[in-house]
């Protein structure tokens, strides 16, 4: 690719996936007047009204992805579940594809991910791989695996799906049956995330680490806060681990690296995502550059932007209320939109479901404690019902 070609009117960027991450990528490309096509099954999805061109198709289908991608100069993703064989074909045919399909194949399979970290000497959680539930039961029966533990599906788990905590035999009986990995339940101080950007020329920059609080039952990030409150030496170490991971995977684009901080101060990689990530939404308002713009800079081989945190920030997901499914109704928005420092993002999903990500709010304040106070009010005030 001619490095300057992307400001050429004939340049086309393709995004696989039309969800909120695709939408927020399109909000940046719109600012740059960069022609952006989105592939997904329905134009009603969040990115459908913001992209330059919407192509109806299935990003898990080989032919749909190849057909779509061959008309693009650069192809990227907003979700991992895409057809990576098709991305490989596109790459061989000369389309620029970021992330690389090889890295994507490792990341899509949590088992391969863990083996990769072991092989690269990157710190990660202890783990064992199993072919299915039966094998786990046998291991427990034989005493080689002890309760409690966490079972994670190797593939297609996201937003808490495909994760099952086993404390009792009853829990085990209720576990899904699929190829999986099993990890011990660690004593955690907290969970943090570092979003790294790396471009083709190898320039690398990391946003400041964020702390993540999970929703107790939905296993979704409920709010995150930045700074992460882990002290500067652990923060530095987290950034080093994240950057080493991005370099080991030879990433081009963003890599979100979720890590556990154990009570004895160890940093262990939990999992990674090769795309914009929920833990980086606050960057839109709180940093010098948003994660979305930084991803585009990276994949277009433009210089990466400064990532300074301009203000402490808290991000909360606006989730569909439990017990509600149907056309979405938003409650409490007006009370929150008047508060200094509160920014609302609604994704435009017409239907709500329990715990569905319907939007998010970012709260900035001169001190993190204030932002947390406001975030608590916002969380208790906004709801999405049917």
């Amino acid at each position: 690719m001619n490095k300057r070609a992307f400001f050429d009117p004939t340049f086309k960027l393709g995004i696989l996936g039309g969800g909120q991450l695709g939408k927020m990528l399109c909000q940046v490309t719109s600012r740059w007047a960069l022609h952006t096509a989105v592939l997904d099954t329905s134009r009603d999805f969040p990115a459908g009204q913001v992209c330059s061109e919407f192509v109806e198709g299935d990003f898990t289908d080989y032919n749909d992805v190849v057909e779509f991608g061959k008309q693009m100069d650069v192809v990227t993703i907003e979700i991992e579940r895409v057809n990576s064989a098709a991305l490989n074909t596109l790459k061989q045919q000369g389309t620029i594809v970021h992330p690389d399909p090889g890295a994507l194949d490792i990341i899509k399979d949590k088992g391969l991910q863990k083996q990769f970290y072991d092989h690269q000497g990157l710190p990660t959680t202890p783990h064992q791989l199993f072919a299915g539930k039966n094998e786990i039961e046998n291991a427990v029966g034989a005493g080689s695996l002890k309760l409690p533990f966490v079972v994670k599906a190797r593939k297609d788990g996201y937003d808490g799906r495909g994760v099952h905590i086993v404390r009792t035999e009853q829990d085990l009986a209720e576990c899904f049956d699929a190829a999986c990995l099993v990890e011990p339940l660690l004593e955690l101080e907290r969970e943090v995330s570092v979003i790294v950007a790396r471009n083709q020329r190898g320039e690398i920059k990391s946003f400041p680490p964020v702390g993540m609080e999970f929703h107790p039952t939905a296993n979704l990030v409920e709010y995150l806060y930045c700074p992460a409150g882990i002290g500067s030496s652990i923060a530095q170490e987290a950034i080093q681990i994240a950057q080493a991971t991005a370099e080991s995977l030879d990433m081009c684009g963003l890599l979100a690296v979720e890590m556990f901080v154990t009570t004895d101060g160890q940093l262990l990689i939990n999992e990674v995502a090769p795309r914009p990530h929920n833990s980086g939404h606050h960057t839109i308002e709180a940093c010098s550059v948003s994660q979305f713009e930084q991803h585009l800079r990276a994949i277009l081989d433009l210089p990466l932007a400064d990532v300074t945190l301009r203000s402490p920030a808290v991000m909360i997901n606006i989730l569909g209320s439990p017990g509600h499914e149907g056309p979405a109704r938003y409650n409490g928005l007006e009370q929150c939109i008047g508060i200094v420092g509160v920014s609302l993002h609604l994704y435009g999903k017409s239907t709500t479901k329990p715990f569905r990500k319907m939007g998010h709010a970012t709260i900035v304040a001169p001190r993190l404690e204030q932002a947390i106070e406001t975030a608590k009010f916002v969380r208790s005030t906004i709801s999405v019902t049917a």
Copy 2:
């Protein structure tokens, strides 16, 4: 209007005009998932790819505007040249219209504007009204009007069009012939702009004043800077005048008030615009809220947001290069996009013309002097050629 109705999926906002101001309004409504329809003659215009719904029609045509507007809950504008009789009809039929067609009629006619300021006791430039060129020539011949002076068309002047400086008889001979107002050439210290937001419940907030530098021949804002460097007492006075003007016009929405600061420290209203304005583009990156979001808050009768300047900023228009007309080519963008603090906005106009507004760049920096230095580099580096 039910105040909460605008987060209802059935709510519709209509914008007359599909230029860059409409585009940047849509970028905010997209973040709020607020259904936004745009009326203009071609979907290829900047807002065409960002709005939820594009309606092809002529915003100067009575029927087109009424047809479009009656499907909307709230109608606003991004350009003054709209059919205000149609807006009046819509208002009578119950559509919420901001700005009010009455205020718009005053603002569209620079003669009525001046008479309004006089009537309200608002400070403005000395002025005389003339029916056409012949009348001006007679006044000059009779000695009741003395060279030099500025002739401004009462209607349809914008971006420097409809403004003619007369220093010599030859200049007068070359002047356009239309209903106009004539002002003396004042000794100016500088020109400033204050953007005021006012909502229906009368809440009012002003962005900090900005200083404007005009392009010497194109008579377009070439760059603006904030803070305006006029000292806090003049800044306060400028804000008071701007707010008094918005209140006199009973504005709902934004009012951009351009003022002259004379060498003897007087503030005189030059002209106003009842919409987002070129002098407020920097607010996207530099203020707690952008002018576009603030306009939407005002017209939807939501609480106005905090307008704090988070960082000194300079905004430069990216104009079509003189001597170039045709499909646009952008030069020098990559060199500029790598500089800390530089944000690019391209409007997506496919064709460039001399001095056409093709985009803008905002430069933020801890000190204004640094931002000005960077802005000079950006201005000398970026060009748009055919």
